[in-house]
């Protein structure tokens, strides 16, 4: 029976994919009727999830309030857009997606509480959510205990892999190594100065970057400094930069600190068109606050830029702006958040079931050709194969694509030789 069901599903899946591509530009205008005969609820939902004959419920769990709201709002918007587009195409297995939004309030225990509420009370089929590593770490035990499925959008430090999480952002090696290789080759860089915010992601990223610089690029790290989250005084480190004159400043300063950092850098007379700076923490969202004139010339290492020139992105950006306003910008994580509902939909259709165990098992190999960043595929370790790109910040707050890896980079959350 299961064989038959699989065969029956393959065809609609391919068809849906193709139609999905074709429909992307017209999605917001033309809601489509469901075309696949919806399979019986009892067959696709054996674990008591919130799935009816016409609807399936998922959760959205981000900070809509608190300090992280500024970063996470983009993710919420992208997920809602994806859900709306999927519904316009007929939903998932013939069912419309309904979402329940919960506010993590930038508070990690609240994230855990709300995740539990979504899984236990609302029986959601999947959760699109979390942003900071701290919130993910808080939610992870809940996901594993109650067997939920989390689609996590942020680029993060790695060292984690769970049956119950799909990581749609890059892990540290995917984000860092190609960028370092490029800048070492392009700029002949030998000496690096690391500056980061003081928590697990910058520390781990810099650890990996240091090993790569020392062991692979045969360069030197001339300084490594950390500042508390929210710090706004960078004068002492800027003086050290002036003294050590590194070829590259490599930064993973996050959040509001960035504004102070780049302004002070400029005020201290460090010209980013001459001094190479590679950041892994500044996206279009952050530039909104920093101001294009303060950061123009800096290089950022990401997997997505709003300015990417490909057909998928050319339909994604206008659709996003149409839904959320002309002034919104789309950063790397926002794009990764957009992938969550789509990957879940494709996986459900591949598995022919909403059951979490089946989705976890079916995830490896699921490919999404409509991704704004280009083609992506889920790896056995539940991370995504994706390209690494380097962009250069422009005055208008956008990035100009300078370099991208030729092939997809394999995700490696537990990198050997880098720990």
């Amino acid at each position: 029976m299961s064989d038959e069901a699989n065969k029956g599903l393959l065809l609609p899946l391919r068809r849906k994919l193709l139609m999905g591509m074709a429909a992307l530009p017209a999605i917001t205008m033309l809601p489509r009727a469901s075309f696949a005969q919806a399979p019986a609820t009892s067959a696709v939902n054996t674990t008591g999830l919130a799935v009816t004959d016409t609807e399936v419920t998922v959760g959205i769990l981000h900070s809509a309030t608190g300090t992280m709201a500024i970063s996470e709002t983009g993710s919420i918007e992208a997920e809602k857009l994806a859900i709306e587009q999927i519904n316009a195409m007929g939903g998932v297995l013939g069912r419309k997606i309904k979402f329940i939004q919960e506010d993590g309030a930038s508070d990690w225990p609240t994230f855990a509480e709300k995740a539990k509420k979504l899984l236990v009370n609302d029986k959601v089929a999947a959760i699109m959510g979390c942003w900071t590593s701290a919130s993910r770490k808080a939610v992870l035990p809940v996901m594993e205990q109650y067997n939920g499925m989390l689609y996590y959008p942020t680029f993060y430090e790695g060292l984690e892999q769970s049956k119950n999480v799909i990581y749609t952002g890059q892990e540290a090696t995917q984000q860092i190594l190609a960028g370092l290789n490029w800048i070492a080759k392009e700029k002949g860089a030998k000496s690096f100065f690391f500056i980061g915010s003081d928590y697990i992601w910058p520390r781990t990223s810099n650890k990996i970057a240091r090993k790569h610089v020392e062991n692979v690029l045969k360069g030197k790290v001339v300084g490594e400094e950390y500042y508390p989250l929210g710090n706004t005084q960078f004068n002492s480190v800027i003086n050290k930069i002036k003294l050590t004159k590194p070829d590259v400043i490599f930064t993973d300063v996050v959040g509001g600190s960035n504004v102070a950092f780049y302004k002070q850098l400029k005020a201290a007379g460090i010209d980013l068109s001459k001094q190479a700076l590679l950041t892994i923490s500044v996206t279009e969202d952050e530039i909104d606050g920093i101001g294009g004139e303060n950061i123009a010339g800096a290089y950022a290492c990401m997997k997505y830029f709003q300015s990417l020139d490909n057909p998928n992105n050319k339909t994604f950006v206008p659709a996003f702006k149409k839904m959320w306003g002309e002034k919104t910008v789309i950063g790397d994580v926002t794009q990764a958040a957009y992938l969550g509902p789509w990957l879940w939909k494709l996986t459900v259709e591949k598995a022919g079931s909403f059951d979490v165990d089946k989705i976890a098992a079916a995830s490896p190999g699921v490919e999404f050709k409509g991704a704004p960043e280009g083609y992506v595929r889920i790896h056995e370790n539940h991370h995504l194969w994706s390209k690494t790109r380097v962009g250069r910040a422009k005055l208008d707050g956008q990035f100009e694509l300078i370099y991208e890896t030729a092939d997809l980079v394999e995700p490696d959350p537990f990198p050997k030789g880098y720990q």
């Binding site: 809509a64 309030t65 939004q101 919960e102 506010d103 309030a105 508070d107 990690w108 225990p109 609240t110 855990a112 509480e113 539990k116 509420k117 236990v120 009370n121 590593s133 701290a134 770490k137 808080a138 992870l140 035990p141 205990q145 430090e157 060292l159 003081d198 928590y199 697990i200 520390r203 781990t204 650890k207 508390p228 989250l229 537990f414 720990q419």
Partner: protein, 380 residues
């Protein structure tokens, strides 16, 4: 009017009602998930209870109770984390057998101060003593020099800020901003499944009543009356030959220990501990619970905590983007309209009617609101 028993008739009645509410009504009406939420709320009630003694009776406003909540919670979490980090559980790490966040921070051996926390007895002692001694040191340093009022409140805030920075900065030893997550078992007993949550809930309610009894005892003893006298006219008490500083230190230490018990129960109930409970904002929130409940009322503190947290959860579930405004409005309304909080409403409007109904005698309305004292009348 006050006697030296733990409680008078109406107080006994109030405690009984609370006991029935927590032990019978809630467990019968709520599912395990909501009951676990109540257990989480009640961990703050310990803090609020301490604040009633320290702030309501002693007049010492501490805006740093999160420090003690955090210390208690971290002590418990360290024990649980060590147990969860057995060599078998952590074999993918470069150094198996140490907590995962240490491994991420390139620490290769368990730090010395972590070692005693593999003993449960030591941990339980530490939960009470570490915050107690810390409060003793702060209290002695402040009150012996007659630092009080606003200055004391500011200093407690500073301590809260310092401790947060310390915890976040020393992430190799404390888990940093992520906190200590994924706590699993207590002496081999899994704290995560539903039945464990129910057991923990009743255990916590038991502890809460023990603390309520201690608070009642303090309140009705001579000590409690000295605290009130001190609040009203510190110099007079000092000139009567009492060491004001010692009484203040005592009240502050009791509040700290209550908060620490709450913190430890939090780590058990929620399964993790993070610096977000240590800082200034949570500390002020805890004061708000007490204010909403009525800072002079021991039971009011419990109800206040429950009410605010229920409101927080249900508002944020219904209005995920606007709920903070609703909550803020609620606080302003309560403080403007009912300066003595829930207990004030009860004492002024409900209690007199019940008393009139029960007996024809008309007792003085000094129930658990202690409104006579609040009005500035002499304590005896």
């Amino acid at each position: 009017m006050t006697d030296n028993r733990f409680f008078n008739r109406s107080e006994f009645f109030g405690i009984l009602v609370l006991a029935v509410f927590l032990v019978v009504v809630l467990p019968l009406t709520l599912d395990v998930f909501r009951l676990n939420l109540v257990a989480k709320y009640l961990t703050y009630a310990f803090v609020a209870l301490g604040l009633v003694i320290c702030w309501g009776y002693g007049g010492i406003l501490s805006l740093g109770q999160g420090v003690f909540f955090g210390l208690g919670g971290y002590c418990m979490a360290m024990f649980l984390k060590l147990e969860a980090s057995s060599v078998e559980n952590t074999k993918i790490q470069s150094t198996p057998g140490i907590p995962d966040f240490m491994d991420w921070n390139q620490i290769t051996a368990l730090p010395l101060f972590w070692k005693p926390f593999s003993s449960l007895t030591f941990t339980i002692a530490a939960i009470i003593l570490v915050p107690g001694i810390f409060a003793l040191i702060i209290g002695t340093a402040m009150f012996k020099r007659r630092v009080g009022g606003t200055y004391f409140a500011i200093i407690t805030q500073a301590v809260a800020a310092i401790l947060t920075i310390l915890i976040v900065g020393q992430q190799g030893y404390t888990g940093g901003i992520n906190g200590m997550t994924d706590l699993r078992t207590l002496k081999g007993w899994d704290i995560r499944p539903d039945h464990a949550k129910i057991v923990l809930y009743f255990f916590e309610v038991g502890l809460l009543f023990a603390c309520i009894m201690i608070a009642q005892f303090v309140r009705h003893s001579k000590l409690g009356r000295i605290l009130v006298a001190m609040r009203e006219k510190e110099d007079r008490v000092r000139f009567s030959g009492y060491s004001v500083a010692n009484f203040k230190i005592f009240a502050f230490c009791i509040a700290a220990m209550f908060a620490a018990i709450g913190g430890a129960m939090f780590a058990l109930n929620v399964g993790f501990m993070s610096p977000s409970f240590v800082g200034i904002v949570p500390s002020i929130e805890m004061v708000i619970y007490t204010a909403v409940g009525g800072r002079l009322s021991i039971l009011g503190a419990v109800y206040g905590t429950l009410l605010v947290n229920f409101a927080k959860t249900s508002l944020s579930e219904t209005f995920p983007e606007l709920w903070l405004f609703g909550l803020g409005g609620l606080f302003i309304a309560v403080v403007l309209a009912f300066p003595n909080g829930l207990a004030g409403i009860w004492g002024d409007y409900v209690q007199p009617r019940i008393d009139r109904l029960i007996s024809s005698r008309k007792p003085k309305p000094d129930g658990w609101t202690d409104s006579s004292v609040a009005d500035g009348a002499p304590a005896e």
